[in-house]
């Protein structure tokens, strides 16, 4: 066990799985970086933010493939390789680039098994960065996990910490279905204790990061940290919250969500993705349908507005959910009084 950053945790997961299984390969734009350059340094970058640094040096050109900037070809190639004996981990860099290659994910990899009557296995992992907070503006900041969650055949993982990232990524690489693994780009330098040995965290099993009696908060990815901060402040005011990190949006641990709502009777959902048809909406519908009688107050969703992600920090800060908004949402459901029947 030692302190590791989110970046190191992912790098270690990749390294350990590549050592364990020769079929695991990496591909993506500049996952090594520097191929053919005048410096003759083929491991120059190790990914645009250094997440895959050193893997080319250890595993070489037969396992680590830099690609042209050509998402449709290499994401499709990763799908084809997965269906024919390899276990590729393809890096899409920014998840926003899915627009260039969605067909290969949505119509090919996700559907092979069903269309082919159960005869295909597609052990593919697509890693990509998501999230606002970097002033990266509208084409490099989206939180597109609801888009993937919508597509049957895909599994979708959103780790909320370095420990979670390592265990969930190893699980993703060993999984025989296509997995979309989304890393919040603002979190790469977050640190916590992470075991040195390899370990897995199963999909579809939520983690309770706080336990309380008054309000259930369901939060995704980076929002789990914001929800924890809000819960800690509220506790000082005598309001205790359960914070659920579902870890994966597909599969979704609906049982844990419903159990917690049955205990607290109040639900706040925190989701960094755009508000229409997002995870907050999905969880709200689940609870409205399955736990209506348990609710003591309306469900509240804390999300960005229905706008593209703005560039200027002052606007981006307004756009993003934050601990203060979560606190306010919790207080509002605590203060809810049902109207007297006429």
């Amino acid at each position: 066990m030692s302190k590791k950053s989110f970046r190191q945790a992912i790098n270690e997961a990749l390294r350990q799985e590549m050592r364990r299984d020769p079929r695991v390969i990496l591909m993506g734009e500049d996952v090594a970086g520097g191929q053919g350059g005048s410096a003759d340094n083929p491991d120059a970058w190790g990914g645009v933010l250094g997440v895959t640094k050193g893997l080319y040096t250890e595993f070489g050109a037969e396992r680590v493939f830099d690609t042209p900037i050509s998402e449709a070809s290499y994401i499709g190639a990763a799908a084809g390789a997965a269906a024919t004996g390899l276990r590729p981990v393809a890096e899409l860099m920014f998840v926003d680039f899915i627009g260039s290659c969605l067909d290969q994910v949505m119509n090919q990899a996700a559907k092979f098994r069903y269309m082919f009557g159960g005869k295909a296995r597609t052990p593919l992992v697509i890693r990509a960065m998501y999230g606002a907070g970097f002033s990266a503006a509208a084409q490099h900041s989206q939180a597109l996990y609801p888009l993937f969650t919508h597509i049957p055949g895909l599994k979708v993982v959103i780790p909320s910490s370095p420990y979670e990232a390592k265990g969930l990524l190893i699980e993703a690489i060993r999984d025989d279905d296509p997995v979309i693994f989304l890393e919040n780009k603002v979190m790469y330098d977050d640190e916590e204790d992470v075991p040195d040995d390899s370990y897995t965290i199963p999909f579809g099993e939520a983690n309770l990061t706080r336990e309380g009696d008054d309000v259930t908060i369901v939060a995704f990815g980076r929002m789990v940290n914001f929800a924890n901060q809000a819960a800690d402040r509220l506790e000082k005011e005598g309001i205790t919250c359960t914070v659920i990190d579902p870890r994966t949006t597909s599969p979704l641990d609906t049982g844990t969500i419903l159990d917690c709502v049955a205990e607290t009777g109040r639900l706040v959902i925190v989701d960094e993705s755009s508000p229409r048809c997002n995870m907050a909406t999905d969880v709200a519908a689940l609870v409205a349908e399955e736990a209506f009688d348990a609710l003591k107050a309306p469900i509240r969703r804390v999300t960005p507005p229905h706008t593209p992600v703005p560039f200027a920090s002052v606007l981006e800060n307004l756009y993003m959910p934050d601990p203060a908004r979560i606190e306010a949402a919790v207080k509002s459901v605590m203060g809810y009084k049902a109207k007297q029947e006429a």
Partner: protein, 321 residues
């Protein structure tokens, strides 16, 4: 090049099987019993068979909307295919794929594909598997002149060249992408496109099995030898519409009739092999009769086969369910 007798017999049988399979589907589709869309490969048989005559089960192909011929050429059985097209549980995909998604990975058939240009990137991946696993295999993408204009295809040519993949790109140019002529929709030439990516280009008459066999043989040998990708431009024509029910009002009267009369790959094959005494008419007649019976039986079995059970709806979305 001398082609062994058993390869000639097998290839003729495959072409005849495709022809009869498709002609029969043309008739059966009109009865309304077959659900969905069907895109027929009649007239193009020598292309799929000529290419696949060089492939083993351990080699990989990806196909198109018009995939029945490639499936048969790669060895997928007609009973399972017919049942699949009828949406039956005995189908090769258990009735969940249909005509456009017939696949059999155990035979290296990575699927017909409902997306134009869907196959070439997948074939880059299959070729990468062959290369990394060092199994000596090659991967072949069949795609039409229509798909040759898709970005996925052009990106795949680049990637295959950059990674020096054992991939062969077979452009089946039947003159029309849906209802629009390739002379209108394809700028420049396929040859120049291959050259643009540094890929060797081969072309052949797709109605002549011997021409396809020889040309594809060179291209596949190039890829198998580790020299990188190759392109084979096959000139052919389709005898039915883009899909069944297409009245082909974009083609001049008599065009297809003339092709059927003058460019029938089966007729050409028979003339050639009997003229130079490679095979005799009687053995070809025997194949014709046997295939007729096989297709008849496939239709009878498909119509009698059970429909998928309701629980199949929720099966095989993931490995776990």
């Amino acid at each position: 090049m001398q082609i062994p007798r058993e390869v000639l017999l097998r290839s003729y049988r495959a072409m005849r099987t495709i022809r009869d399979f498709e002609e029969r589907l043309h008739v059966e589709f009109a009865t309304g019993e077959i659900p969905g869309f069907v895109h027929l490969y009649c007239g193009e048989e020598a292309s799929g068979v000529g290419v696949c005559s060089h492939l083993k089960d351990t080699d990989t192909i990806a196909s198109t909307h018009r995939g029945h011929g490639h499936c048969i050429a790669k060895g997928v059985g007609v009973d399972g295919m017919m049942a699949e097209i009828y949406g039956r549980s005995t189908g090769v995909c258990r009735g969940k794929g249909g005509s456009m998604h017939i696949a059999d990975l155990s035979l290296g058939m990575l699927g017909a594909n409902g997306i134009v240009g869907g196959g070439p990137p997948l074939i880059c991946g299959a070729a990468l598997s062959h290369k990394v696993l060092k199994d000596g295999g090659v991967a072949v993408a069949f795609y039409g002149d229509g798909a040759s204009n898709e970005g996925t295809t052009l990106e795949s040519l680049n990637l295959a060249s950059v990674w020096n993949l054992p991939a062969v790109f077979v452009v089946e140019d039947n003159g029309y992408g849906e209802a629009t002529a390739s002379s209108y929709a394809c700028a420049g030439t396929q040859k120049d496109r291959a050259a643009g990516f540094g890929i060797p280009y081969f072309e052949c008459d797709g109605t002549d099995f011997f021409a396809v066999h020889e040309t594809a043989g060179e291209a596949i040998a190039h890829a198998r030898a580790g020299k990188g990708p190759a392109m084979v431009h096959v000139h052919l024509s389709r005898w039915y519409g883009h899909f069944e029910g297409d009245a082909m009002t974009y083609r001049a009267n008599g065009e297809v009739a003339k092709e059927r009369a003058e460019q029938d790959c089966l007729k050409k094959f028979r003339e050639k092999v009997t003229e130079i005494s490679l095979l005799d008419s009687a053995s070809l007649d025997e194949i014709d009769a046997s295939v007729r019976d096989e297709i008849e039986q496939a239709v009878i079995k498909a119509k009698a086969a059970p429909l998928p059970e309701p629980e199949a709806l929720m099966q095989d979305v993931y490995v776990s369910y």
